[in-house]
Symmetry: D4
Subunit: 247 residues, 8 copies
């Protein structure tokens, strides 16, 4: 780890003692809150701030972590926020923005520059909207322009083909679909950009909560597709950001 | 069962005795060969002759059954024939026709009239050919005209769209695909005919021997698709025949 | 796509400009409602109107789509309607007909001619009724006569055999069953019509929400069966319509 | 354990010492062959001799166990015998009877009385014969009369119904089937005897090596069915024997 | 079917017309209630009355079926009764007996003789009680004496061994267990009676709602075990009755 | 069983009769409460007291069992306690300690000595806390010192490495993780102590309620890991105790 | 599709007839070889040439397709080549390069420029080499520099950490692992580049041919990972190329 | 990592330069052989030498790794050795010992002291021997005394109970079983030592190659059991060693 090596150098130059070195390393990397070790170092290490996964955490745990991050000059994204946690969080962070469709909260006191290139989020059906919005907001939070193309499922192929020229302008494409998940297969055969496929859990019977969609996407006959977990709009947005961020 | 009712009438008119009735019924329906009860009555009962599923049977068992059927004025189709059974069968039925690609044998001493309308067999990739041919030969054996459209997978959409006008001329469509099985979904959104989808077992990894394809087809977002077992070209051909046969 | 080709001709005759052509094509195919691209063209393309799958949509989304369809001279079928959406929809479409057993709404301001031939819906048990009714209503909505034969499970075989003469009068048969799903196997061995099998999710233990039924139907030893997704009464009704509709 | 209690009594009467008691108990229950502890006591404890499951054992291991059993006045049944073990075993036991269809060997130097009542073995298709024969031979080996009814699958219902009067004469019924496994469901609705269902592994695609058949049988809508492992003809024969053996 | 044959005879003797014959047959076998064809003939055909599976039926449907059965001189067992249906049913059948632990209702206006031999119901843990009681009550309802041995799981082996002498007095044994389901394996090695194993759905994690228990029971190394569906106490009781009923 | 042998000796010395022996044995081993046979002997037989699994039991059943154990000089641990059972239990055992995070109750009127060596409980994320606490409290209840290291997931490796020196001081390590479960793999490569891995059910999509974590842990490339059931903190604590308890 | 639009313009300008337009479009997109429609247009449409998946094709089919591609100025990559097809192909393409470890053949008569940035292929164990090499060769074939880091599994963490500075120099990272698949999780927490994870099928028991690895990777707690099919080195290499290719 | 910290100290004392430190660390930890990074440091880090998993490696790769280990004063264990690799390895290491039953090779030029306490390996059936022997040899290789108790399956309970006194003398118990895997459940209820359960893949039908056994073991109702991968005799032996090794 880079900073570790840096401190090592200081140590070898005699500028700090062996004990101080250890202390420095530990202090700069994480702040312990009892229940959680907040990973403050992540931004410099991986290029992205830590994001709070709200599903398994109480409102007060989330607030405590968010405060720590804001104190360390980081914007905060909270995903999978439970309905009952929204009000307490908004009360603590008046500038926070709650996105109901995607069940997430954005707290962005710090400005950032946006890339020139954009990410396209294409979805197959109306019911994939929540996941598509999670992807879109995540990408925007991380500093990307996002264009949205919804309800472009392959059962009415013209709906997709009509949008193709616009979709082709994106640097990366996120394809969100439930059911048989054929959208990324068809899409990847028509574009040059890498396609990140997100299976959604909306469906019934043999859809098996998205497993069928996931497997179909992994088994695609088209090239240029990689896949993330079921309903993982956040992961897709994050990956798309890493790619769009490449200079 | 129709014939049962007919005999019942005879019986009530006093033309036959109660015992004779029972004997007649049993005799006309099946001929027992020790290992097998050949269903001679099936043709009149369901409109299709009995077909021999070759996979679990020895060459001599198959020959015995085939002879019984031929004796009863029926053409014979043997599917899933094992390589080693081919020669002995061909020796017994010199007029038999062995179709290697589809691992089947057709013995057709009796003529039949063909329907005017046709069945289209559309396949996604080169490796789906064996299943597609099983479907096509089954349909032909049962008296249907068949048109073949192979290697029309959705990763290169134009390959399918170019064939669309011809595919639309068929009364029923059989869509054969492996991988993510998106072909029937795309196809059903573009045609008016019923689509019978056949998943194939060719693939690897998350394809799981065709399970993924099967599930994707069952979960299709498009209307007008029904599905048969993995690699069940015979079943698809048979179903297509039943539909094409409707006056 | 047919209309595309038609417009192409107009274009080549100089009657419209290249831009106009593109505009026409896009306009005639779908109307965008923000959340949804309504597929108005589907009726002429596939012979069936677009049906609204109610499960993932809010009452107001459904109303908006339904209005668009009605405006374009199409009857409307809404399936899998959520209890809480019924009242608002009925208030907007006073002529709408709510079918509680099948959780669907039919809005049919426009008349249509019915085919002479009929579709039989046969079900195995009392608890398969919801799915059977979804199939029956879908087929009726699309212009077919439907005859219903309920509670004909194979554990009391005489219940099925008694109905056989009437069942045989149908052009297509929909067989709805849960549990081990043996009904279509037994039925297909006794009739000439194609059988569309619908597994239902009612059961417990090794029934696995219908998976066992589905697999058993796909693995049937009888010929002439094709299968749709678990509980997919709509899909079965739609397929049966396509088949019954064949001239 | 009965004999344990008997020895306990001897011990309390002072007829044997505590050490002798322990030694007796151990000696009479099993004979250790290094690789195997032969359960000689099983006949008196459970009413049935130990049977040798041949699949995981070498010819010499089998011979050693068989000799031990014969020495202790027990007939020997060896199931799932590997092709290559047959000759060496037959050479050691000239009176042994090898049943190729069922892959088993019967060594029966000791006579036994047969029950008056019989067990019916009903199978669905030609390819279920191996399992059906394993069940039939196991039941015969254990001293039961067996009647066989093969190729009675539900796709041609008359084949089963014709045999019904004879099947009804059995005290217990073993129903062997592959594919969708509907035979026991139909059968149990027509008879008074308990039905032991045996799923077989013959099939393809969604048959999943017998899992589908197994699940369908467990989920049967008919009463009076219990199920054994896939291809477990031995288990079915053994269970049927226990039941037929009840005075 | 016996009665069918009887009527056939009447018909051949000219005592009834062909039409009357058909009418008789249909009338005597089932009474149609709109939603349900009540199988009145089942008692004479299979030796057991029809039992009402309460899970998928409304209180009024159940009451209607129960009344039909009572009218035809049959006692009534209703299993898997929903909490909210209990009161209305009890109001209609004041003599009905509601067994809360097993979620069933017994309506027994008609007397019956009990067999001399008994059925043992052995369960592994406290939480298997509901299923064990369903089995016990079903067997009692069908006219059997039942002895109960609860909380005899193999983790404390002495609990089972202490009860062994009493368990051995039963003619058939029902072994109810959740978790790893080892009880029937251990039990079958110690008794001579046939063992019907019932897996229960109580557990967590890798127990998978009883699938693990089911599979373990089917894979048992002990002989003499057959298995019914997960939580299927009714099926086990019914099977045990059929066996105990053998003269 | 030891005590069995002891009584046997008494018996052979004529100090007690055969009947008395049997009675003694049964009495000392379990106390029957109707629904439950309390295993009082377990402490002397396996070195650990019986623990009450609260999930499937009512408050009154639990209280009755707990009272029996306390009467027999045993401390009581109740795991998976349902929310609604807490108050009644606490009212009956005023000295009881309710641990909300881990859903368990400890009743410890009897003192015990603690081992000198300790058990480390390491968890990957905030949401694994409930399971980690169940493990920790179980181990403490059984007389072990426990050190806790939470939120040490591998995505921020330094969080784990910082704690390594302290973790290495433990005699046994319990590694609790959800998601992809990589923590035990990484940990086992860095320590000398045996690692007991506990998969947790917290996650979504392809996590499948902990199955993925479980499988990943079982398939670990690192040596020295054994695994317990999903969310089985109790089992891990118990195993760790057995190991830490070895002299 | 772009070229389609271009031809449309020509048509509207009267430079070509409507029939000519259709003919042109079809001709330029694919060349039909009977068994296969070669997708010549793919290079211009998606930026990558068509690659031949060798698994389901005969040597002569492969040769025919490869010749068509070479004739159209495209280099050829053949993956999953069967052992027996290698010699015939090499005889037809003397300049072809056979890579035994990765079971692929490269035919590269045409030069191309390489990107400056590189792709890192990191693998966990010796047995992942085949898949890692398929990824590396695919990426190289498509014009990328590749650096290889093999045997860096997490059980010996220092092996990975030692290579970290070099790995960090890549623009995209491919992480290949079998077993529990923890490598990408650990890696993604330490780098800024996007990570494409490839599960491999090498393992046993609960590894389930790579399913466990796949699921673990999809469920990773680390951000920045997307996943391809089991053993899909080609897909990973292709995706990495698309990303590295972004200007 | 200990040595890392040690070198750090040297560095801070100025005894070595920063560069030297890095070089030392890397050199002492692994030796790179091209295909493999041999983990020489593992012995000091985790207390056990690296073991060679033979399944995915060629004879020459194995020999190269083994030579490196022997050079570094380590004994060598090679598991899952392929038949064809045995001769070449034995030729290179004349002192090597090939254990055919367990498919492993032990090369032990260096002496070691054995612990006083022992490990018991208990197996259920004859066919579990290979796995049991892998466990036993692994434990012996690592310096433990091993006692073997084979063919103690629960279907003949006395076989296990007879051996109980001897089994109880071990400090750790490895329980190896296939089929329904009840052995560890029964065993853990009778002993005080920790039990490591190993499911084996020998079986058929619902045994699913050991999955059923694995799940049953994980779901055991008995306390004190932890589980390793299917057929993972090595892992069990290794874990048992770690536990037996605790001072």
């Amino acid at each position: 780890m880079k900073s570790l090596e840096h401190i090592l150098e200081q140590l070898s130059l005699g500028k700090i003692s062996s004990d101080e070195a250890a202390q420095h390393i530990r202090a700069m990397q994480s702040k312990t809150l009892g229940h959680t070790q907040v990973d403050i170092d992540r931004l410099s290490r991986t290029g992205c701030p830590e994001v709070i996964y709200g599903a398994g955490k109480s409102a007060s745990q989330i607030i405590e972590i968010a405060e720590t991050l804001v104190e360390h000059q980081q914007n905060v994204l909270i995903t999978r926020i439970k309905e009952e946690s929204v009000i307490p969080i908004l009360e603590n962070f008046p500038q926070a923005n709650y996105v109901k469709t995607a069940s997430l909260i954005r707290i962005e006191p710090y400005e950032r520059t946006f890339k020139e290139t954009s990410i396209a989020v294409v979805s197959a059906g109306t019911s994939d909207q929540a996941v598509a919005e999670e992807a879109a907001h995540t990408a925007e939070f991380l500093g990307n322009k996002v264009t949205r193309f919804y309800d472009c499922g392959v059962a009415g192929l013209h709906r997709l083909i009509n949008k193709l020229p616009e979709i082709r302008e994106a640097r990366v494409i996120i394809a969100v679909a439930g059911m048989e998940g054929a959208l990324p297969s068809v899409l990847a055969g028509l574009v040059k950009a890498p396609v990140i496929a997100v299976p959604t859990s909306v469906g019934y019977g043999t859809h098996f909560g998205g497993i069928t969609t996931l497997l179909a996407m992994l088994t695609s006959c088209a090239n240029g597709i990689s896949v993330v977990n079921i309903d993982n709009g956040f992961g897709a947005g994050f990956n798309a950001h890493l790619i769009n961020n490449l200079s």
